[in-house]
């Protein structure tokens, strides 16, 4: 029964993946790829440290002490939107870094799988952190984010350490195989 299920999933997966991915990859041409690689080599810099201003306690405390409840409510709503916008921007930039890498690797003369895995891992940590922050702000408030940070940084560092050990083992095995 398990085997039947495995083959049914495999067949369905193949059809779904091919339809979905080949539809996307058809929109590129080789010239576009080279042009994109050229653009991507000029990476955007990260913006000023806006996050501290948006998420930090200074403005919040001031409004809480001096403004009416209506103004506080408006302030919280706008801050939430602002924090989300800022995090979406951070996410977009991290995606751009990885996209430029994938284009660069495709055109390059050599690709090393362990290095690719390590970069994917770094990207995974960056994206997970971003998504976590977005999730907390969406379902709570920007202030709650700072409180939740302690626990998530422990979890992400745990995942990162585990995955890094796996990459290290893979590199060692490759080296032994070559020897």
């Amino acid at each position: 029964m398990n085997q039947t299920f495995f083959f049914l999933i495999l067949g369905t997966l193949l059809i779904a993946i091919l339809f979905f991915l080949l539809r996307q990859s058809g929109r590129r041409s080789t010239e576009q790829l080279t042009a994109a690689a050229d653009d991507a080599s000029q990476l955007e810099s990260w913006p000023e440290d806006l996050g501290e201003r948006i998420l930090g306690p200074a403005d919040w405390d001031y409004v809480q002490e001096n403004a009416s409840s209506e103004v506080q409510r408006l302030f919280y709503a706008e801050r939430k939107e602002l924090a989300l916008c800022w995090l979406y921007e951070v996410r977009r930039k991290s995606q751009a870094v990885m996209r430029s890498h994938r284009i660069g690797s495709t055109l390059s003369d050599n690709i090393r799988i362990p290095l690719e895995l390590r970069l994917l891992l770094d990207y995974f940590v960056l994206r997970t952190s971003c998504e976590f922050a977005i999730f907390i702000i969406l379902f709570s408030s920007p202030r709650a984010l700072r409180r939740a940070v302690g626990s998530t940084s422990r979890v992400t560092s745990c995942i990162r350490n585990l995955a890094e050990s796996l990459v290290r083992v893979n590199t060692l095995l490759n080296r032994e195989n070559r020897a």
């Binding site: 495999l10 193949l14 080789t30 390059s108 770094d122 922050a133 940070v149």
Partner: protein, 255 residues
């Protein structure tokens, strides 16, 4: 043979002949010789089977399964041609694909062939169904690996390459599903099988007709500036970008 089966068979023959004629007219058979050989074999096989079905019905079943194995071998060639056509302009990605494929195929092939061996006491047609399904599963895994590589490395795919991969992927995917159901349900599935399998195959032929009608020559990689070719500098740039991103988030959020 019902009217439905005969109609499907005839339409299939017509579409195969149309594809081959179009291959001759546009000259795409020179660019994709294995796909052309595959289609030519299928056409020949269909004509032969039709003849056997009416003239020598006793030979039909064994001829069908022997023919299927030759189609399978040619199908592997089509898979290889899809890989070669897409990855040839990008040798570094091609090397990654070879490593990934060798690993994945070795794992899957050993598993499915071992399963086939364990079940080898079954009736001949059941064994043949299981074996064909297992080999199609190996092709499916190869095509999934290719699709995932294309998702990661943004390789341009033209309309013709897309059509060949889509059509063959659809054929392999539906074959795996079909053969799995035939193996699991046995005779109960037979009536559905004779309707579904030719219908899926006709769909594949229609996809190929639509996509291969106007053949697009596989793209040659555009000249790339030397500094973009250096993998180490690409990796260095990405590392720097990701490290800056992490530092930025840590300073602003995770502090």
């Amino acid at each position: 043979m019902t009217l439905y089966t005969l109609t499907i068979w005839m339409v299939g023959l017509g579409l195969e002949a149309l594809l081959l004629a179009r291959a001759g007219m546009t000259g795409w058979w020179r660019k994709c010789p294995l796909l052309f050989a595959y289609l030519a074999w299928i056409l020949l096989q269909d004509v032969l089977f039709l003849f056997l079905y009416y003239q020598e019905p006793n030979w039909y079943q064994s001829a069908y399964w022997y023919g299927q194995f030759f189609s399978l071998a040619l199908g592997c060639g089509v898979c290889w041609e899809v890989f070669r056509s897409l990855l040839a302009p990008y040798p570094a990605v091609g090397r990654v694909a070879r490593s990934v494929l060798c690993l994945v195929l070795a794992l899957v092939a050993s598993k499915v062939l071992a399963d086939g061996w364990v079940n080898s006491n079954n009736h001949l047609s059941v064994t043949v169904i299981v074996l064909e399904r297992n080999l199609r599963a190996v092709q499916a895994v190869a095509l999934i690996s290719l699709a995932l590589l294309l998702a990661y490395f943004p390789i341009p795919v033209n309309r013709t390459q897309r059509g060949v991969a889509l059509g063959y992927g659809l054929f392999v995917g539906t074959s795996v599903i079909d053969l799995t159901a035939a193996d699991a349900l046995g005779l109960r599935f037979h009536s559905t099988w004779v309707i579904l399998q030719p219908l899926f195959y006709l769909t594949v032929l229609c996809v190929w007709c639509a996509y291969l009608w106007n053949f697009e020559v596989p793209q040659v990689a555009a000249p790339v500036p030397q500094d973009l070719l250096d993998y180490r500098s690409v990796v260095g740039r990405t590392r720097k970008g990701l490290a800056e991103g992490l530092r930025y988030l840590r300073n602003n959020v995770f502090r």
